[in-house]
């Protein structure tokens, strides 16, 4: 069945005299029917990875296996993979029906009648049955996107590949299609690899997320795991918006010494830290609480620099009282809290919500506690 395994997959591009490693030893195992979202900043190698799976790029080293079979040297047309492109890549001279039938005509022995039936079914599923006679130029962006999806599902492939398929849609349509794609994937139960740079898509759509940075796989886990138990500082910073605050600290006994603040640790956290002394403390903006007074262990007095009201919540740029101007961190507080620039307020950074990362390698040494 459609299990897809990437085993040490590497892509090296020649570049003048030297080479560029675009994808570096990526290992991913996808079970049949899984929806995996590959996410990362632009240039991280996520599209290259997808294109290697499709067979549009050669694999420099490593192995890609589909249903246990090595497919490194199989040409794209024989991989039984359907792909949805960012530009949709519809054939402009063919009708919607022609576009959808093309893959079946080229890759199967189905009779014209069977092809017609399958195209009609897929069009029904995608809600584009009434568009079958139109050409792509006569369709709206959202309709084209549906045709591109229909063209992929009609082939009933082992694997779907999607390369930022929603990035050309406007915000409203995008969130609609997000839901629809999830429903569709659920229904068809086809192994799907979905590339995006949009972390909302990553968080909401996939069974698991694979996060890539600079060609290297950072973490493969469920969205919530990535959010609450990031494997390293990069993942912690990449997932979540506004992103996690980081403070470089030095461990001194039971205390973390920062530039402008000290932070004491409990015994159990210290166990996690071990003998690492150079650390980074991470705290998500929503975990920073407004404290009534400065009596607690982990309360700090701060100055509000900027407030961005978002309605449901306020994004507040804070600065430790002793820190120089401009050196801010972010907290999100409820939309009804009255905070304004220049206020001096006391905040709490609760110990159960902090993350600690090795200062040099970036590996997580301690993640926040999760309730229940």
């Amino acid at each position: 069945m459609g299990t897809l395994e990437l085993d040490g997959v590497t892509k090296v591009f020649p570049d003048g005299d030297g080479e560029i490693v675009a994808v570096d030893g990526v290992d991913i195992e996808m079970r049949d029917g899984e929806f995996l979202v590959v996410v990362g900043p632009s240039g991280c190698g996520k599209s290259t990875t997808l294109r290697m799976v499709a067979g549009l790029e050669t694999i420099s080293s490593g192995e890609i296996r589909l249903a246990g079979q090595r497919i490194n040297d199989v040409k794209p047309q024989h991989r039984d993979i359907a792909m949805v492109f960012q530009s949709y890549a519809l054939y402009p001279h063919m009708t919607v029906e022609g576009n959808m039938a093309f893959g079946l005509e080229e890759s199967t022995d189905l009779s014209d009648g069977e092809i017609e039936t399958r195209v009609a079914d897929a069009a029904e599923t995608m809600g584009i049955a009434e568009l079958l006679d139109r050409k792509p130029a006569d369709l709206s962006g959202g309709q084209r996107q549906r045709v591109a999806l229909g063209r992929a599902i009609v082939r009933d492939p082992e694997v779907f590949l999607m390369d930022e398929p929603l990035s050309n849609l406007d915000a409203k349509l995008r969130s609609e299609m997000r839901t629809e794609l999830q429903r569709l994937q659920d229904e068809l139960d086809v192994t799907t690899m979905y590339v995006t740079h949009d972390q909302t898509e990553a968080m909401t759509m996939g069974d698991r997320i694979a996060i890539l940075n600079a060609g290297e796989l950072q973490q493969v886990a469920t969205p919530l795991e990535c959010y609450h138990e990031p494997a390293n500082r990069f993942v912690a910073g990449f997932i979540g918006d506004p992103s996690m605050n980081f403070f470089p600290v030095e461990r001194d006994g039971e205390t973390l010494v920062g530039d402008v603040f000290d932070y004491s640790l409990s015994a159990s956290t210290l166990d996690d830290v071990g003998d690492v002394t150079d650390l980074t403390l991470g705290i998500r903006p929503e975990d920073i609480a407004l404290a009534g007074d400065s009596t607690g262990d982990h309360t700090f007095s701060t100055v509000v620099e900027v407030v961005e009201p978002m309605g449901d919540e306020n994004t507040v740029y804070l600065r430790f009282a002793d820190a120089p101007e401009g050196e801010t961190f972010i907290a999100t507080v409820g939309g009804l809290q009255q905070v304004s620039a220049g206020d001096e307020i006391t905040v709490e950074i609760p110990e159960e919500t902090v993350h600690l990362f090795d200062g040099t390698s970036g590996e997580a040494v301690h993640n926040r506690e999760i309730d229940e």
């Binding site: 050669t58 079979q69 199989v74 024989h78 890759s107 199967t108 022995d109």
Partner: protein, 328 residues
């Protein structure tokens, strides 16, 4: 499932989709796989498209040039076949001693440079005029480019008449200005410039089209910025716009020079024979005359090689320039 493809078996590909070759066994050496490995995954399969045209061009263009080089080293003349047993540079030394050859080479050079410069200048002027937001732009452009669609043979007829001593338009205009008639075709000192003028008439439209494309590619902001900076129109073109036309100028120059090297058709038709008017013999006409009028095949080949080297001297750097800019 009724799929006719077989994932997992790569060696079947080349055979299954186009029957390119029989090779590609699963085990053992496969020349196709080896070629694809070396040149890229579609090398063999795509060769059915590019290889036949490539061979045709390779044989007719490059094969012929090499053959031509060989013939130029023989003493082949008259009827029969060349004797390739005895190769030397005799034909080239003969060329250097031939004042007709030297004159033709000099004329070729003058024509090349002069024609290219005046045509570029006129073409640029036309392009700027057309680009000034005028009405009937299409009509003007179509008419300026019209001579380019005509055969050299046809334009030679027109200009033979234009340059006619007694009743040609040029002499009529000149005499009406109070000057004396000029024997444009008959005077060996003048004829080359007259030919240059006629060729400019035919190809200025081409230079215009190239420059116009270049001008249109310059963002409007540059014009506006220059205006805001206080430049007059003339200075704006001179300082801001024309320097940006470097690419257009280079491509247009190369093509124009190559046209000039090919001006044979025009000169032949001007007089209806292999012998162009005195003073207008160029390498292109000399080569054909030596070969087909005098049957001096080997000598003609040597002249042809000279002409080829001149072309190479122009086109070589141009191709290198294009290659470096990633346009190949």
């Amino acid at each position: 499932m009724t799929r006719n493809t077989d994932t997992g078996d790569d060696s079947g590909d080349a055979v299954a989709d186009g029957g390119v070759a029989e090779g590609g066994q699963r085990s053992g050496f496969s020349p196709i796989a080896a070629l694809n490995e070396r040149f890229g995954s579609d090398f063999v399969e795509s060769s059915q498209f590019w290889l036949p045209p490539f061979l045709l061009v390779g044989l007719f263009v490059y094969g012929a040039i090499i053959w031509n080089l060989l013939i130029s080293l023989t003493d082949f003349r008259g009827f029969g076949t060349p004797d390739y047993g005895d190769l030397d540079l005799q034909m080239y030394s003969r060329a250097l001693a031939d004042s007709g050859f030297i004159d033709a080479a000099i004329n070729t050079f003058i024509l090349l440079v002069g024609f290219t410069l005046v045509t570029l200048a006129l073409g640029l002027g036309l392009a700027i005029l057309i680009d000034r937001n005028i009405r009937f732009e299409n009509t003007f452009r179509t008419i300026y480019l019209l001579p380019m669609s005509l055969s050299f043979v046809v334009t030679a007829q027109f200009w033979a008449w234009m340059f006619n001593f007694n009743n040609g338009v040029i002499n009529i205009v000149i005499t009406s200005l109070g000057l004396g008639r000029v024997d444009w075709i008959g005077n060996p000192d003048i004829v080359l410039w007259a030919v240059m003028f006629a060729l400019m008439w035919q190809f200025a439209g081409y230079a215009m089209v190239v420059f116009l494309a270049g001008l249109r590619a310059i963002p409007n902001e540059h014009y506006e910025a220059a205006k805001v900076d206080g430049a007059s129109t003339v200075r704006m073109y001179w300082r801001v716009i024309i320097p940006q036309l470097k690419g257009s100028t280079i491509s247009a120059s190369v093509v124009l020079m190559v046209f000039a090297l090919k001006a044979f058709d025009f000169l032949y038709s001007l007089v209806g024979g292999y012998r162009p008017p005195n003073g207008a013999d160029i390498l292109a006409t000399k080569m054909v005359r030596e070969a087909y009028a005098n049957l001096n095949w080997a000598y003609a080949s040597a002249v042809a090689i000279t002409l080829f080297l001149m072309t190479l001297g122009i086109v070589g750097p141009y191709l290198y320039y294009q290659y470096n800019r990633g346009n190949l």
